[in-house]
């Protein structure tokens, strides 16, 4: 059973005097125990909104998010229900996600006491244990966040979340503010923790090259929709959706060969006025007539590309799927 | 420019609401004061006559519920009826009208002096941040901000008039001269318009000390906040990029730094205007400047409530209108607001 499953999620942003923005327009995803699902997409594609909706920070306008089999609720003024405390989030900016005026130990103790709803002291042995888990010295507990580097702070943020013994963690761009070596360190920490604690991890990032090294399953998002899902290596070696192909082709390789990455023409359209049909069609090099008319749904494909069936109702796991008429049409017949 | 019009319209609506609020405040303060306006108005003999009091209350709407009385008050305001001064029994509006030009002249000249000097000093301090010039200007600015205006007025009058005698001892014009023929009510402008050079010289001489005293306080404020505004701008990449383009330092400072700090500086000037008005209330009496500040002082001393409320209402209206203009200008100088 999936730990975290998102079904046909829609999130709209309404602003006075402006058209409604469909930030997330019908996304279904699920994350299993001991799995990292990497969700990649470029700025404005709705991935952060999806992350916030997944943990209940943003209200969905349609669709559901289920954690451990029960639906999640939006975080309101009141206290978060106990059964949701196993679903946690790590934020993008490690400089903003820790309180600058509280010692690290006290902030991690918040996590330790979360499940039991008790006040835990900063010198509790469980605080030290979780610091060790993320590879920091136990002496860190007595210091303030500004005494740590960006990478170390991100470890602290992860430690605070782990202290609550979650079964699912959503990480919203946890690597983007870090240096290359810190990125690799945090990424490998995530893999280690996933294995050790059987966590279900939803890792959100704009950087395909880092995510592909740690994610078991990859989901690619474009303008509020997931366009392709599948095992990471399969997608990386054989992307089916033209957008995924463009995304992978645009990553420059450090191979010393001097080859320019492939450029994708055009700009990401205004999410308030998404294109008709497939949202990628105006920029798609392979678009056919149908693409501008009818919106393709994420459809499970077999390796040969044969159509298996629509998956709008069933949560998508590791099955290879794409939302592209080219694949659905031509490879099905 | 449709978004621009919408922007101004929104501000205008806010202005109207604010003006209503201001009149409500002055209404509450003057209409609900302890004491009996009827007896005060009718005098000691008639005031003992219950019937006369009742009739007076009825005539003036005082027997009506409060919201109704507020409407009457508003209606009177719109017709320019601010009540009568208790001291002179003349309409407050009439009295205000005679004093307003003097204060406008003083306020405008001080905000000009303070604005020019304050912005220059503030920019200079920011550009020489943490160096000696910045430290000196910090002392000067904070010194100006810390000086009680009424005290500075006293000292400057003692020194400038009594001790060295360079400046006249008060008033707007040499008593031997006739005021220039009234056009604007501002003696300096009127003298210029009628080419009355003697009056112009005298008006300027009389204007000098009060202007400097009022500006002294405001200049420190403007300099301090301009410095902050410029420092907020100056660390931006686009300033470094402007230098990297090989522009003259002067072009970068004026065309890029000040341009970016302009919206903040407008707001600072709007706030500084409050300082000038406050200062006017405190110092006009000392300079026997026949403005609403001196009028307010006298009214305060004699507890002439309708007059004080009238001054308060007038100054508040001027102040919110000035800030409305600042707001609109803010939208004009910042394209991000203009279009959004």
């Amino acid at each position: 059973m999936s730990v975290l499953s998102i079904a046909d999620l829609h999130v709209d942003y309404r602003r006075r005097g402006r058209p409604t923005v469909q930030a997330v327009a019908g996304v279904s995803l699920s994350v299993e125990k001991g799995q990292i699902l990497g969700l990649v997409g470029e700025s404005g594609c709705g991935k952060s909104t999806l992350a916030r909706a997944a943990v209940g920070l943003v209200a969905p306008s349609a669709g559901t998010v289920e954690f451990d089999g029960s639906p999640t609720t939006r975080l309101s003024r009141g206290t978060r229900p106990a059964h949701l405390l196993g679903l946690q989030m790590v934020f993008q900016n490690p400089y903003a996600s820790l309180n600058p005026r509280r010692r690290v130990g006290a902030q991690i103790a918040d996590g330790v006491g979360a499940r039991s709803r008790t006040k835990v002291r900063a010198d509790d042995p469980r605080v030290a244990a979780v610091l060790e888990l993320v590879g920091l010295p136990t002496s860190a507990a007595g210091r303030y966040p500004h005494e740590f580097s960006g990478g170390q702070r991100q470890r602290l943020a992860i430690a605070r979340v782990l202290a609550a013994e979650p079964s699912a963690v959503v990480l919203d761009e946890p690597l983007s503010s870090l240096d290359a070596s810190a990125q690799a360190q945090i990424a490998s920490l995530l893999v280690e923790l996933k294995d050790k604690l059987s966590l279900a991890i939803l890792l959100i990032s704009h950087d395909l090259s880092v995510v592909r090294q740690v994610a078991d399953v990859l989901a690619v998002m474009y303008l509020g929709r997931v366009v392709e899902v599948g095992p990471t290596e399969q997608i990386w070696s054989d992307p089916r959706h033209p957008y995924t192909q463009a995304l992978i082709g645009a990553v420059p390789q450090p191979d010393g060969l001097g080859t320019l990455p492939t450029a994708l023409p055009g700009e990401v359209p205004d999410p308030a006025r998404p294109p008709s049909g497939c949202r990628f069609h105006p920029r798609c090099p392979e678009a056919i007539a149908r693409c501008s008319v009818e919106q393709p749904d994420l459809t499970v494909l077999v390796p040969s590309g044969r159509k298996l069936g629509t998956s709008i109702d069933t949560p998508i796991g590791t099955a290879r799927s794409a939302a592209c008429w080219l694949r659905i049409d031509t490879e099905a017949r | 420019m449709k978004p621009g019009i919408r922007f101004v319209a929104r501000r205008l609506a806010a202005l109207v609401l604010l003006l209503l609020g201001i009149t409500f405040v002055t209404f509450v303060l003057t209409a609900l004061v302890p004491g009996d306006p009827a007896r005060a108005a009718l005098g000691p003999i008639q005031g003992e006559n219950e019937e006369a009091v009742r009739a007076w209350n009825e005539r003036n709407g005082l027997d009506k519920p409060l919201p109704y009385r507020y409407l009457i008050y508003l209606g009177n305001l719109i017709q320019g009826d601010l009540g009568n001064s208790q001291a002179s029994n003349t309409p407050v509006l009439e009295e205000l009208a005679t004093y307003i030009p003097a204060t406008v002249e003083l306020a405008v000249s001080s905000i000009l002096v303070a604005g020019l000097a304050g912005v220059t000093l503030g920019v200079f301090a920011a550009l020489h941040r943490d160096r000696l010039a910045d430290q000196v200007l910090r002392v000067v600015s904070l010194g100006g901000m810390s000086m009680p205006a009424f005290w500075l007025a006293l000292i400057s009058l003692y020194l400038g008039f009594f001790l060295i005698g360079w400046f006249p001892g008060g008033g707007r014009l040499d008593p031997a001269l006739n005021p220039p023929s009234q056009v604007t009510g501002l003696y300096t402008v009127d003298a210029l318009l009628s080419a009355d050079w003697a009056a112009l010289g005298s008006a300027l001489a009389h204007l000098a000390l009060p202007t400097l005293v009022l500006a002294a306080h405001t200049v420190g404020y403007i300099a301090r906040y301009t410095r902050t505004a410029v420092l907020e701008v100056i660390h931006n990449d686009y300033i470094r990029a402007a230098y990297a383009k090989g522009l003259h330092a002067r072009t970068v400072v004026v065309g890029y730094v000040l341009r970016a700090a302009l919206p903040s500086m407008l707001q600072i000037l709007g706030f500084a205007f409050a300082g000038v008005l406050t200062g006017a209330v405190l110092v006009e009496k000392i300079f026997t400047w026949p403005g609403i500040g001196g009028y307010a002082y006298t009214s305060a001393i004699t507890l002439d409530l309708p007059s004080i409320a009238g001054v308060g209402l007038f100054i508040a209206i001027v102040y919110v209108v000035v800030n409305f203009v600042v707001d609109v200008l803010y939208g004009v100088v910042d394209p991000r607001i203009r279009i959004a």
Partner: protein
């Protein structure tokens, strides 16, 4: 070989810090030839940006610079202010990292494109605007004449960076310093900007000093690469030398972090701040090949093959290859 366009020798930059000045660039030598793309790699804080800001004397107040920097015969570090101003924007132009902050938010694109054109080339407003429209067209901004009247916030990040490149290009400089020009952009947008830079180099023969931490970007564009670590160059050579055959364990680790094969093998620790630079080879505490020698001796760049310079005493990556070589 012809005289290099820019040659820098023994460049040292110190910035004021809370506990006295700290050395952020420590004796750096390099050259940039006319028309080439010279890559400067390294993580943030390695001194690569400070190196180039010091050449144009754009460092924050209180910074001190030593060494020599000759740009087509002129010494940049000692040139009088007026002369330097005529070099900035005219001979050497800059493109900054974040196009959201490097364009003035309240000035029109037209103004920002033309004011240095008019200062440097003395052209009138009319022809400056015509030239500006050409430039916008050249960097593929749709509707150039409309764009001249627009403001930066009306463009996307990628478009803004194209505009910033047009600004840099305006006076036909001989060198463009591009400081992380694509870091703030999405990868598909980045690809477009990289294509643009490549085309400009080909069409105009302008040299580019490309500062980036992304070795993938480096590999796509750079002719030669220098790798910075803790204020020094630890390796430099042609693109193929440095990226295909890295000699320094740090370069190797950076490439490894991006490699698309094999497991994630993160480099331990983090780069030292300028104030806490360790003695000997600054990389030795993080280096898996480090010996006692690395902690003791300062390393200098020495050639290991023609044009390929390395500052590593142990040389663990190249040794086997040398042994094989005849």
């Amino acid at each position: 070989m012809a005289e290099p366009l820019l040659s820098v020798e023994g460049l040292t930059v110190r910035l004021p810090g809370p506990n006295g000045p700290v050395t952020v660039v420590d004796g750096v030598d390099f050259t940039v030839d006319a028309g080439e793309i010279f890559g400067v790699a390294g993580e943030s804080g390695s001194g690569k940006t400070m190196t180039f800001l010091s050449l144009l004397r754009l460092l924050p107040a209180g910074a001190t610079v030593h060494g020599e920097a000759r740009f087509s015969g002129q010494n940049l570090l000692t040139a009088p202010a007026g002369e330097l101003r005529r070099i900035r924007g005219r001979q050497i132009a800059m493109v900054f990292q974040d196009p959201m902050t490097s364009l003035h938010p309240m000035l029109s694109i037209g103004r920002q494109l033309t004011d240095h054109l008019r200062t440097h080339l003395g052209v009138n407003r009319r022809s400056a605007r015509a030239r500006a429209a050409e430039l916008l067209d050249e960097v593929r901004i749709p509707d150039p004449s409309g764009a001249l009247r627009a403001y930066p916030h009306q463009f996307s990040g990628g478009m803004r960076q194209r505009i910033a490149i047009a600004v840099a290009l305006a006076c036909r400089p001989r060198l463009i310093v591009a400081d992380e020009p694509t870091t703030a952009l999405d990868v598909t947008v980045q690809a477009g900007v990289l294509h643009l830079l490549d085309r400009l180099r080909r069409d105009h023969g302008v040299a580019v000093a490309l500062i980036t931490h992304d070795l993938g970007v480096m590999s796509a564009l750079a002719d030669r690469v220098s790798v910075f670590y803790a204020g020094r160059i630890v390796e430099s050579g042609t693109r193929a030398d440095v990226l295909r055959d890295p000699g320094h364990p740090y370069t190797d680790a950076l490439i490894g972090a991006l490699s698309h094969t094999g497991a994630l093998r993160p480099l331990p620790g983090s780069a030292p701040g300028a104030a806490e630079r360790p003695g000997g080879c600054a990389f030795h505490p993080r280096c898996r090949y480090a010996t006692e020698r690395c902690a003791a001796d300062d390393q200098t760049l020495v050639p290991i093959s023609p044009g390929h310079l390395l500052a590593c005493a142990e040389n663990p990556l190249t040794r086997p290859r040398k042994a094989v070589a005849p």
